[in-house]
Amino acid sequence: MALDQSFVGRTYPPTPAYEVGREKIREFAEAVGDTHPAYVDVDAARALGHADVIAPPTFVFSITYRAAGEVVQDPQLGLDYSRVVHGDQKFSYVRPVRAGDRLTVTSTIESIKSLAGNDVIDIRGDVHDEAGELVVTALTKLVARAAEEA
């Protein structure tokens, strides 16, 4: 079933602040096997010009995806979330995410398309810090595979 095009351009309210912790960054870096010192050692991060340890580039997805999940599970949108797969992912960084950041995500539906029976939805997540400055924008393309014919 085609999704309602009137949702294109809709922006959802900002999420509650997510506080980025040093140990959460360490846990994530260990999980991806990345031993770069800027993720775990404050002095090493400062030597590179960062105020605190920074997060690996894809860390912020954990936050933006949760925000996008609220969008795609909006019952009025009518997307079958159980059939959703991740198509594309893109990040544009103003600066790296770092420990101590309190981040909010504002999600916007950028486009809705129907391709070969699949619903394709592009969601933009603008991530701001406590000062209201943009930190990173995440663009997530989700594809809801067409249901099999009954």
Binding site: A31, V32, D34, L48, P56, K90, P96
Partner: protein, 142 residues
């Protein structure tokens, strides 16, 4: 932001050191916990097969996290990455054995842009198949 590679030292075509990243079921469980993505297709074989997958598959975002390491290890400062995007073209299938799967990533400078920026195009392969498409990063060099 303090990249260790200078803009003047690279040319279009400069190859970045390639890297291989092993991934086992244990890796996926650890990544699920750290990322908060507990979709059972990444740890439950029965569930994965029921939804039509050949076996448990790696999180696409895990592969994306590994691929950029070729760029961040080369540039020296992960904070030098300005843009990063991928398309998830094929799943990384992770069998339940002690070997798992191997993600092989290579990259080369595809364009020199203004303001000390370069675009790096990445290729991520697993089991002879390209698992990421349109995999590109823009990084600010010294």
């Amino acid at each position: 932001m303090t990249a260790k590679v200078s803009y003047g030292s690279v040319e279009v075509g400069t190859e970045l050191p390639a890297q291989s990243f092993p991934v086992t079921r244990a890796t996926l469980v650890q990544y699920a916990g750290a990322s908060g993505d507990f979709n059972p297709i990444h740890w439950n074989e029965k569930f994965a097969r029921e939804v039509g997958l050949p076996d448990v598959i790696a999180h696409g975002m895990f592969t994306m996290a590994e691929a950029i390491r070729v760029v961040t290890d080369w540039a020296g400062d992960p904070g030098a990455v300005v843009d990063y995007g991928v398309r998830f073209t094929k799943p990384v299938v992770v069998p339940n054995d002690d070997k798992g799967a191997l993600i092989e990533v290579s990259g080369k400078v595809a364009a020199k842009l203004d303001d000390h920026l370069v675009r790096v195009d990445l290729v991520a392969m697993c089991d002879g198949k390209k698992v990421l498409g349109m995999s590109r990063a823009v990084v600010r060099l010294a």
